[in-house]
């Protein structure tokens, strides 16, 4: 999708590139500031038939719906573990047990992305799905929450639907929608104990959130539906010239020098969460609002579609423009070299090669900086009523 053809002429591309690389501030076609997101409308809990759902509509008309479904699944016991436990050594089984508790399988989450007009095994669709899944699984906190007991776990199906045709690279939209859907996702309360076959409470009102929140007065805090932990968000950021631009529209992405997808998570203050049957208990006492500690979960280079844009022809080499002289041949030869190597002011040329390391590091740093965009986005998402 990033390589989708943008129907812009070389002149338009050149103009766009020039205005986006203006200093000190880029001039974006839709008048946004470099760090500003497109305005959006979000709602959660729209589908009663799912464990959690969300819908986000960006102002440019792109819309996505995400539904979360959960099923109970038997945990596969790796038999090599068993062979180890059968051998003596008193503490080995306990240690294995501990490890098994700590990590959940990455196959406990299944994510599918549906984009109209694209097959579901299209590389770009797969790439998007893998990227979102990678961020979700990166810290292992999520799969920990899915554990029911030693023998069973929840299997989460995340179906991500892009409703509108893909007008822009849909990554930020899909990521934000997934984030909200996961926040609103609830699982039935476990009634059984220990490793017996799980039995759940029929009462949906008693269900627990996958991402717990301290809405009750358990410890007398002023928390009003405050979410304790949050799923990651993936942000799209690109660089043009010396400018860093967030949430690029399709036309802007078409002139990007480099585009990165950066997944950011929020740190849960106590890392050693003791998972037991009581996964609704909140241990993160230390997390004070407004002071979040971000974590970098994943970075991926997005192939910028600018590499596939048609190049412009500078006047110097345009045979239709220059009057033919005796040394026409030599001139075109010369011109050909110019075309290959030099950048002519005002003539669009698809970028070649990669990006400087410093630029990429600056992009990531910009995302993660304190009070930066990631903070802002998470604040914005916090304001969404989670029903």
């Amino acid at each position: 999708m990033s390589s989708q053809h943008v129907l812009l002429s070389p002149a338009e591309l050149s103009y766009l590139h020039a205005s986006l690389s203006l200093q000190p501030l880029p001039l974006r076609p839709d008048g946004r500031s470099p760090t500003q997101f497109r305005p959006l409308v979000a709602e959660t809990g729209i589908l009663p038939g799912t464990n959690g759902s969300a819908r986000i509509c960006f102002a440019d008309g792109t819309e996505a719906i995400v539904g979360v479904k959960a099923e109970v699944e038997r945990t596969v016991q790796p038999f090599t573990q068993d062979t180890q436990t059968t051998q003596d050594e008193g503490e080995t089984p306990a240690e294995d047990e501990r490890r098994k508790e700590e990590v959940g399988g990455s196959d406990w989450v299944e994510m599918t992305v549906e984009i109209p007009g694209y097959r579901d095994d299209d590389p770009t669709t797969v790439f998007l799905g893998q990227m979102l899944q990678e961020a979700l699984l990166a810290d292992g906190e999520f799969t920990k929450r899915l554990r029911i007991n030693g023998r069973f776990h929840w299997k989460i199906y995340l179906d991500i639907l892009l409703i509108s045709p893909p007008l822009s690279y849909p990554l930020p939209l899909l990521s934000l929608t997934t984030h909200l859907a996961l926040l609103s996702a609830r699982l039935p309360r476990l009634k059984s104990e220990g490793d017996e076959d799980p039995l759940f409470d029929d009462d949906w009102a008693a269900s627990t959130y996958v991402y717990p929140r301290d809405n009750n007065k358990k410890d007398g805090k002023d928390g009003n539906n405050k979410v304790v932990a949050r799923p990651p968000v993936t942000l799209l950021v690109m660089a043009v010239g010396n400018n860093i631009i967030f949430d690029p529209a399709r036309e802007e992405l078409a002139v990007a020098d480099v585009a990165l997808a950066v997944s950011v998570g929020e740190e849960t203050t106590t890392t050693t969460t003791q998972t037991g049957g009581d996964d609704d208990v909140d241990m993160e006492e230390g997390s004070t609002p407004g002071k979040r500690r971000l974590r970098l979960l994943s970075v991926r280079t997005i192939d910028p579609p600018s590499r596939l844009t048609p190049p412009g022809v500078p006047n110097a080499t345009n045979t239709a423009y220059t009057a033919p002289t005796g040394t026409a041949e030599a001139k075109t030869q010369d011109g050909a070299r110019t075309l290959e190597t030099e950048r002519v002011e005002g003539v669009w040329k698809a970028p070649r090669g990669g990006a400087k390391v410093m630029v990429m590091a600056a992009l990531v740093a910009k995302v993660l900086e304190k009070g930066g965009v990631a903070d802002e986005v998470l604040d914005g998402l916090e304001a969404v009523d989670l029903g």
């Binding site: 989708q4 053809h5 943008v6 129907l7 589908l47 038939g49 799912t50 759902s53 509509c57 102002a59 440019d60 008309g61 792109t62 819309e63 719906i65 539904g67 979360v68 479904k69 099923e71 599918t112 549906e114 109209p116 007009g117 694209y118 097959r119 579901d120 299209d122 199906y157 179906d159 639907l161 409703i163 509108s164 045709p165 893909p166 007008l167």
Partner: protein
Amino acid sequence: MPLDTSSYSLALLRVDGRRWNELRRINAQIRTQAAADGSSYLEMGHTKVMCVVTGPSEPFGPARVGRTGAGAGATAGASGGEAGVVVSIVVAGFSSVDRKRRGRGDKRIQELQSTISSALAASLHTHLFPHSTISISLHVLSQDGSLLAALINAATLACVDAGIPMTDYVAACTAGSTSTYAANDESADPLLDLNHQEEQELPGLTVATLGDSDRVAVLVCESRVQVSRLEGMLAVGVDGCKQVRAILDRVVRDKGRKMVQEGTVQKGVGLEDMEVD
């Protein structure tokens, strides 16, 4: 899940408390999406679908460059003289009670696609847009019976929103019969608008008519049913289509009135009968 059909004869009430000729609540919206040429959202009971129409546009728009036939659904209307109607349906994995994933190559979905595509191609004035494509993308968010009918209604509304000239609404609904085929019950009553439970158990058909007329545009019957019962079912179905048409018409008019009031569009000529208050 066996359906207790015997209780119907006692109170003449169906499992969800409706009478035989009652539709479920239909709630629809058009112009739900800013960027699309036409869009709609339709609920028939718990069946919820969304529709986005793109076009009429060049056959292989920017979204499909270099991807011949990728994800394209059924096409009706030959290229050349008239516009092709491409329908693609995405059934969300979370739409049914148990998660079930249907790929795009699923035969059942392909059949739905081609049914909708041919029904709409007959109603839309495709000859006005030669060498172009009208692409209709449907998303099923929640399923509770009468899926085909809901899809057809949503597609009609989205086409209206897209402003594609058409002869009339294609309004659809389902009809069934109160007892199973095996019961061979001569006195079985026809039923209107089946939900999922009834659809599983009872014979049923989907019918779509062209506007207020009795002209049938789509008729799909996939279950065994005695011929003698068919006529009654069809009559009830066609009657239901008229009710559905009235609801769809109301949705379109309401939206139009609202847009005139807001000043987004000018009131057209020849619309004296449309009261703007």
